[in-house]
Amino acid sequence: MAHLAPTPVLEPGQDRTLILNMGPQHPSTHGVLRVLLEIDGENVVRLMPDIGFLHTGIEKTCEAKFYQQVVPLTDRIDYLCPLTNNLCYVLAVEKLLGLEIPPKAQWLRVLLNELTRINSHLVWLGTHAMDIGALTVFLYCFREREEVLRMFEMVSGQRMMTSYFRVGGVALEPPLGFFDRVRDFAGYFPEKVDEYENLLTGNPIWAMRTKGVARMTAEDAIALGATGPTLRGSGVDIDLRRDMPYSSYEKFQFKVPVSQEGDVFARYICRVQELRESCSIVRQALDGMPEGPIKADAPHVVLPDREKMKTQMESLIYHFKIITEGFAVPAGEVYQAVESPRGEMGYYIVSDGTAKPYRVHMRSACFANLQTLATMCEGRLLADVVAAIGSIDIVLGEIDR
């Protein structure tokens, strides 16, 4: 695996080759990613991603917050799938606390997570196709994404930075009419996916730009730490939702799309099929939504209902205590991973027994996936770099944290 050795600093002045700087502000890098390329004519000899332009030190900030105050920070990591980050964080804290979550809250979490996956994949599909030159898909995708964002707004009051999940459950009961709206969306969405596929899957120009481009073998993908559709596009069949289920995913029926080719098209087809599977999970969640409370029965952790706070002394005391001094979490450490739209999103939380986390580390899927870019692109054409970056589906906020 000599070609997997990381690229050292590129030096100019070598015969025939030229150093080209791509980014940090480049339309196809989906944020502020800088890529250093050594090119020989139109062939990429070496490639090195340069990241860190969006680094905000979220992990350090978390150490200064109470456990419940970290939830809004997790939205800001990956702004395309905020609810997945919320979920991963609260699952980790719940594991530390040993809390049991009522079924309705778990199903709501699954429902919203799959909507988030649809939202994220729609943005990916639109921008990826736009990078390669298919402009129309972008407009179609954003039409459906708008509806998903409106549903998020309905349930949490925010379009993007939802912060809807809480340690011990979810923040609020979904409003009247929310489930009908989701059902309506889940009803017509598969037709819309057909529409996207009509534009792309059979399109010969799309096939020329994606088939056989930026190939990666399964061995390379595993060695480089790729996860999610980037790994499944290379033929490795793993999905944490099915293989290490969390939040009652084991009660849902869904297929895990896997492609063997390992090229841009394979990753594209995996994600498009995931759109359909997510839609099916949404429908199952709607059909089987259990009745019951949406918060765990743990007054020292979960904020009391507004009504009880105004009528019961204990609730008022608990509310005051949680807001002013947080809740203590037993000492220990956990690593909780969920399948985000981009791959394995993991939270490693160390508690020292106080109300603030001692250390919060986010294992970001794109951070590891980005390492595969050099393997995909070296020895190929410069124009394929754009297709390869799009096919990894990077979010720079998550990479830099």
């Binding site: 990381p6 900030t61 480089l224 793993i238 690593y335 993991g346 294992r363 951070f367």
Partner: protein, 165 residues
């Protein structure tokens, strides 16, 4: 639901495939083990971390072929100060194990695992950048998230949250 107490004895955990494999290889490589909240943690001797990783990756019984994550915890002012944490995943067996190495602050260096998993590259650079832990044998140990000319390592506990102004 009260949490079950953590198991820290080696004896009841001997049957865990990773522990069994490491014990069969080198008894002194394991300093301690912990089974807490359904997660297995193995504290390794500092010198044997890379070989232990290679062993767990290649062994058919364990098959921890995927490196999920490398990170670090700073226990300042306690010594040994740094704890480098590896999270391994077995794709065929769907299992996880956590490996740890403890490092003193005067010689915070550990062998790099980039030769075992090339994907460790970015993770080790991140730990170097934010904690100042060095990884010997790393091919390109430079800052990755902070600017090249940054002074200090922000995730250390003696680094103020607001930064130095």
């Amino acid at each position: 639901m009260p949490l079950p107490p953590a198991i820290t004895d080696l004896e009841p955990l001997k049957s865990h495939p990773a522990v069994a494999r490491l014990l069969a290889w080198n008894k002194s490589a394991i300093q301690s083990v912990k089974f807490d909240r359904d997660e297995m943690t193995i504290l390794l001797d500092r010198g044997s971390s890379r070989e232990a990783c290679a062993l767990l990756r290649d062994d058919a019984e364990c098959a921890f072929n995927f490196l999920s994550d490398i990170t670090c915890v700073d226990w300042y002012p306690a010594e040994p100060r740094f704890e480098v944490v590896y999270h391994l995943l077995s794709i065929p067996k769907k299992e996880r194990v956590r490996l740890k190495v403890r490092l003193n602050s005067d010689n915070a260096a550990v062998e790099s695992v980039t030769s075992v998993w090339p994907g460790a590259n970015f993770f080790e650079r991140e730990v170097f950048d934010l904690f100042g832990v060095r990884f010997t044998g790393h091919p390109y140990l430079r800052r990755i998230l902070m600017p090249e000319d940054w002074e200090g390592h922000p995730l250390r506990k003696d680094y103020p949250v607001e930064g130095y102004r």
